[in-house]
């Protein structure tokens, strides 16, 4: 999200400047098609890769490279854990199990990359606006929006951790030798976030919050939005053709 810390901080971009509804439609369309079309042939994988690169360029390009890298690194470490459990587990070991793992791993990478790129092109004000135009019931939308707000605070707290380590003379090598310290630091970050969250709650209450969030932001659908939607649909259709014909 915009206004939040890395890795989700974004820069002005082509898709970032489009109508929020378009971003949701593009994101939903990409996710649906990428997850439904199997990655059987190299041509399909290459086609999906091209679309991801276009999406990446349209949502900030090189300035988001570091963020993309961090997200993928996180995902790979997560997949690494699943891989180890796949190897250790009786039920999914063997060729079929590994094939399932491969399929799940590729789909997870697609889904995480698309979600990360699209989420980084939608800012908090647009989320409030979207919840209004999509008529999402306020108890649900407010909960989601508040979670985003708290996540922002959590990111902020985490951003201060390296400086706090260094200020106490704790090097990463020292932390590797004393892993119990990491758990203690994480506890501190979470406690501080809870404290900040309760302050935010007071701030909301102090302003008469009654379960609804507001924004001045409004948007109108432009010709460029229609063209982007048509372009995305054409690309996804092309992907479908590649999957069907195999080339």
């Amino acid at each position: 999200m915009n206004e939040l810390s890395l890795p989700l901080t974004i820069v002005p971009s082509y898709l970032g400047g489009r109508h929020p509804l378009l971003k949701v439609l593009v994101g939903a369309g990409l996710l649906a098609v990428f997850l439904l079309i199997p990655d059987r042939t190299p041509a399909v994988v290459a086609g999906k890769g091209v679309i991801i690169v276009l999406l990446w360029l349209g949502t900030g390009g090189f300035s988001r490279l570091e963020g993309c890298f961090r997200v993928l690194l996180f995902l790979f470490s997560f997949l690494g854990i699943i891989f180890i459990f796949t190897l250790l587990g009786d039920a999914v070991s063997g060729t079929a199990g590994m094939a399932l793992f491969r399929r799940l791993a590729i789909k997870s990478i697609w889904a995480a990359t698309i979600s990360f790129l699209i989420a980084g092109a939608i800012n908090y004000r647009e989320c409030i606006y979207l919840s209004r135009i999509l008529k999402i019931p306020s108890p649900i939308s407010s909960q989601m929006l508040l979670v985003i707000l708290i996540w922002g605070k959590l990111f902020e707290e985490f951003r201060h951790v390296p400086a706090a380590w260094k200020s106490r003379g704790l090097s990463s090598r020292y932390l590797k030798r004393h892993p119990e310290l990491i758990a203690r630091l994480l506890k501190m970050v979470l406690l501080r976030t809870v404290r900040q969250a309760s302050r935010l709650e007071l701030s909301f209450l102090g302003r008469g919050f009654a379960g609804k969030l507001y924004t001045f932001f409004t948007a109108s659908w432009s010709t460029l939005d229609s063209l982007t939607l048509i372009g995305t649909a054409a690309l996804l259709l092309e992907l479908g053709v590649i999957a069907r014909t195999g080339c």
């Binding site: 915009n2 206004e3 800012n123 908090y124 004000r125 409030i128 707000l149 902020e156 900040q196 302050r199 935010l200 007071l202 701030s203 909301f204 209450l205 102090g206 302003r207 008469g208 919050f209 009654a210 609804k212 507001y214 924004t215 001045f216 932001f217 409004t218």
Partner: protein
């Protein structure tokens, strides 16, 4: 309730769940338009007192009576609370959204709300900041923005928790000027004695949850024995 008073506090007590007493037998009256500063050492109960009076403190553990001026339907609209740390207060993704929250909540038309937001921002010397993201602003600017967020609600009573904390001398000067111009009744907790001396009509010295002294800023701040006794000098 006497119409001359904005706030009458009688025998206010507060205990934390762990049994620690934060406020004990607090009694005082706040006249309309009066600016009263609460001073006291760290842990004296200044912030707790402000939270209790603003209605933001949970009711459990709180006893005593707090009478306010003429009752309005929307209590939140007539009370403003400025937190020590503006990051605790900001709930909008842009200055405009944050400052205009109360107005949009009250159903004010967006065009009118925009005008009122612009006025409030002008009042705190942040004219033209509407589309900025709070994350791009300095600590002092965020503090003034939070103040603007209170002012748009046209509160009668404002609580300020350490308004000068974290500000440089120039920012304190700007803030002081803004606060002096405000006609509202004000209760502020502050350790900045210069600000207190310049702004407050009366000073309330709080220690260990009790009011130790209540009087004019010049009298209390110049009483070396009293100030030393309570760890303020």
């Amino acid at each position: 309730m006497n119409a001359d008073y904005e706030l009458i506090v009688t025998d206010l007590n507060f205990k934390y769940p762990n049994g620690l007493t934060a406020l004990s037998g607090v009694n005082f009256r706040l006249s309309r338009g009066e600016k009263v500063a609460i001073i006291g050492p760290n842990g004296a109960g200044k912030s707790t007192l402000l939270l209790a009076l603003s209605g933001l403190l949970r009711k459990k553990g709180l006893s005593g009576t707090i009478e306010r001026g003429e009752e309005r339907e929307e209590q939140a609209a007539r009370i403003g609370f400025l937190f020590q740390n503006p990051d605790d207060q900001i709930i909008g993704a842009s200055v405009e959204d944050d400052v205009g929250f109360i107005l949009l909540r009250e159903g004010v038309a967006p065009a009118r709300a925009r005008l009122l937001v612009a006025e409030a921002l002008e009042q705190v010397r942040l004219g033209g900041y509407q589309s900025r993201s709070p994350s791009e602003m300095s600590f002092g600017e965020k503090k003034r923005m939070s103040l603007a967020g209170l002012l748009v609600g046209k509160p009668d009573l404002i609580f300020l928790d350490e308004p000068a904390l974290g500000l440089d001398p120039r920012e304190i000067g700007q803030l002081l000027k803004i606060l002096k111009e405000m006609p509202q009744t004000m209760l502020l907790a502050s350790m900045d004695f210069n600000l207190v001396l310049e702004l407050a009509d009366r000073v309330l010295l709080l220690d260990r949850g009790r009011i130790v002294s209540l009087g004019s800023p010049a009298d209390i701040l110049s009483d070396r024995v009293l100030m030393e006794k309570h760890g303020l000098l």
